[in-house]
């Protein structure tokens, strides 16, 4: 277990160093806020559990932290987003072979083209935050779906809040 932790640290610091040599992202994430340490990740999946590299495995490890949510027309990373992204960063540090996509989404109460641009902003805000936590930018692809792919189907404030999101999806 000790050696495992050491490996994790090495991987994490290596990716952090790699990230440091890159120029800062154009949209800077807000200053980090202290947040509760995410639950430790179980990195010894059972034989019958989901395999590493599947979305199921990622979701099983980070739980609801695979998605972050935004206020209307906003794209800033608030404290609960930061905690979720830290959980994601920890997972991606543990599995450095994985690449993934951050999907940016908007609610239906916006015009179509603006929402595509807004989804881009959100996906990039999440990506930039992950990169600031040491995830190599080359491992993170972004895509915006604007308002075209809602998860909550009603037309009310609660549904719109669920649809204003950036969701991390494992590619391999």
């Amino acid at each position: 277990m000790n050696s495992m932790k050491a490996t994790m640290l090495l991987v994490a610091s290596a990716t952090a160093l790699a990230a440091c040599s890159k120029k800062p992202p154009e949209i800077l994430p807000p200053a980090q806020v202290t947040s509760p340490t995410p639950a430790p990740i179980d990195n010894t999946p059972s034989q019958s559990g989901p395999i590493v590299g599947s979305q199921e495995h990622f979701a099983g490890a980070v739980g609801s932290s695979s998605v972050i949510y935004f206020d209307t027309d906003r794209f800033n990373i608030d404290s609960s987003d930061a905690a979720a992204l830290q959980a994601q960063a920890q997972y991606f540090a543990q599995y450095p072979q994985l690449t993934f996509t951050v999907e940016g989404h908007a609610d239906e109460r916006g015009t179509r083209e603006y929402n595509l641009a807004l989804g881009e902003r959100r996906a990039n805000a999440a990506k930039n935050y992950l990169v600031s936590l040491g995830v190599d930018a080359n491992r993170v692809r972004t895509v915006s779906y604007g308002k075209e792919r809602p998860v909550a189907l009603a037309s009310n404030a609660a549904a719109w809040a669920q649809n204003r999101r950036a969701a991390s999806i494992i590619i391999n």
Binding site: P25, E26, I27, D73, F75, E108, R109, T111, R112, E113, Y114, L116, A117, L118, E120, R121, R122, A123, N124, A125, N128, T142, V143, S144, E148, R149, P150, V151, L153, A154, S155
Partner: protein, 471 residues
């Protein structure tokens, strides 16, 4: 050397993309449409005294004009690919199309061929006045359909003033049988323009997005149709989401956004060949395609590291010029008819508002100060108005002058967005989304806001883009 560079840039811009992958969602090519050739009709040339009364914005008088539109006559009933029952039945269809055009737009009170006597072929040039004055018709449309030996059709179109017992105007059109509806639209345009003094708009096409399926798994396909909904075609198969089409000014191409390679990218779809190319080779997402009025260059918006700005590029490829550079979202853009200015949308002030800049990107000034937000601005083809999506609680279609004055809200749906102008700048189409269900449809409204109607489409519809009047 200069020539070589330009040529190389064009190749790089349009041909480098892997053709197979980017064409995989495309349906069969539509092919080039036929022409409508004007033909001279026998008779004296008529002096045009100008419009009879008013303009569309007057919302008065002439909308009550009764127009009789009996079946178009034929010299002899001949077989034609345009109608299984021959030219006589085709003449009736032509009159029906004209009647529907004039009625559906709330412009006149037309009476169609199904409740009117059938004029003979000679009567099209010499109306039986008594028949029509007795029916209370003020205006009379006559016409004929003649199939020529080579299969082409000649459609004659005459407008008469019943009270004056006088001919107001006439035109003749030669078309391929497949294009017979275009002749009916040209005749509708002739009547409309002569009576209102406005420019024509019926002989035009609309590109839009056809939508099917549940709200969370919506299939969105590129589709096109005539201004009256006829000649409907799906251009993409639906495996990739298609959005925001725009017809080129000459109808030879459509620019639109497709996720065919997994990312939102603008493609230039060639209607004749049924193939498409990327508008620009770039790894960043490209959004919101727009043509310049001369069709030579295009505007697109590109998100780089989350920051969206507006760019211009020659349609043949080459170097892109960045027109905006604020940290906010700058997106869309619509040229003034003379090509000198661009109205666009930006949230640099903190919320979506409309701005005007010179075509080279200089002198950017906000014009929307009427409360609420201003999105998807579209410059009228007449140049006198800008239509936009006004967000103030609900989403509605509104117009204002290019300086931002005289704002008027024209619709009152829950979510009406994405206005597009009729070629004559007198009618606006948009799409309306229903709360909760997410169902969407195309609607149109005139500048008075009084004449609003839904356009029939085979399935749900969004993102209408009205093309110009056809030659």
């Amino acid at each position: 050397m200069m020539k070589f560079t330009v040529f190389f840039a064009a190749i790089a811009g349009l041909m480098a993309a892997p053709a197979l992958a980017q064409n995989q969602d495309l349906g069969e090519a539509l092919g080039e449409g036929g022409d409508v050739a004007d033909v001279a009709l026998d008779g004296e040339a008529l002096a045009d005294d100008g419009p009879l009364r008013g303009t569309v914005t007057d919302e008065s008088d002439w909308s009550d004009i009764g127009i009789a539109i009996p079946a178009f006559a034929t010299d002899r009933n001949r077989t034609t690919p345009a109608n299984v029952d021959g030219t006589e039945a085709l003449g009736r269809e032509v009159a029906r199309v004209i009647t529907a055009n004039l009625r559906n737009n709330g412009l006149f009170k037309p009476v169609g061929p199904d409740s009117l006597p059938q004029p003979s072929f000679p009567q099209t040039k010499s109306p039986s006045w008594g028949t029509w004055s007795g029916r209370g018709a003020e205006m009379l449309v006559h016409g004929f359909v003649v199939a020529q030996d080579d299969g082409t059709l000649v459609v004659g179109c005459y407008l008469y003033d019943v009270a004056l017992q006088d001919e107001l105007i006439r035109e003749g059109y030669e078309v391929r049988p497949a294009d017979w509806r275009r002749a009916a639209h040209k005749c509708s345009d002739l009547v409309y323009s002569r009576l209102t003094g406005e420019s024509p708009f019926f002989d035009s096409r609309i590109a839009y997005i056809a939508e099917t399926g549940p709200k969370d798994k919506r299939v969105k396909r590129l589709a096109v149709m005539d201004s009256d909904g006829a000649n409907h075609r799906f251009l993409t198969l639906g495996s990739a989401t298609a959005l925001t089409p725009r017809y080129s000014p000459d109808y030879s191409k459509i620019m639109y956004l497709s996720y065919v390679d997994g990312n939102p990218r603008i493609y230039v779809y060639n209607i004749g060949t049924g193939k498409q190319t990327l508008v620009t080779e770039n790894t960043s997402p490209t959004l919101a395609p727009r043509w310049s009025p001369d069709g030579r260059s295009v505007l697109y918006s590109m998100a780089v590291a989350g920051n969206t700005d507006i760019y211009r590029v020659p349609v043949t490829g080459g170097r892109s010029v960045r027109l905006t550079n604020t940290p906010g979202i700058d997106i869309g853009g619509s040229y003034s008819p003379d090509g000198s200015k661009i109205v666009f949308e930006s949230d640099r002030s903190g919320s979506q508002q409309c701005y005007v800049m010179n075509a080279d990107g200089s002198n950017q000034k906000r014009i929307s100060f009427s409360g609420g937000r201003c999105a998807t601005p579209e410059w009228s083809p007449r140049g006198d108005q800008i239509a936009f999506t006004r967000i103030a609680g609900d989403f509605n279609i509104a117009v204002m002058s290019p300086s931002g004055r005289g704002m008027r809200v024209l619709t009152n749906g829950w979510q009406d967005e994405a206005p597009t102008w009729a070629p004559n700048g007198r009618i606006i189409q948009f799409f309306r989304t229903t709360r909760n269900s997410g169902r969407s449809g195309l609607w149109q409204v005139d500048l008075t806001g009084d004449n609003e109607r839904r356009l029939p489409t085979p399935v749900d519809a969004s993102d209408p883009a009205w093309g110009p009047i056809r030659d």
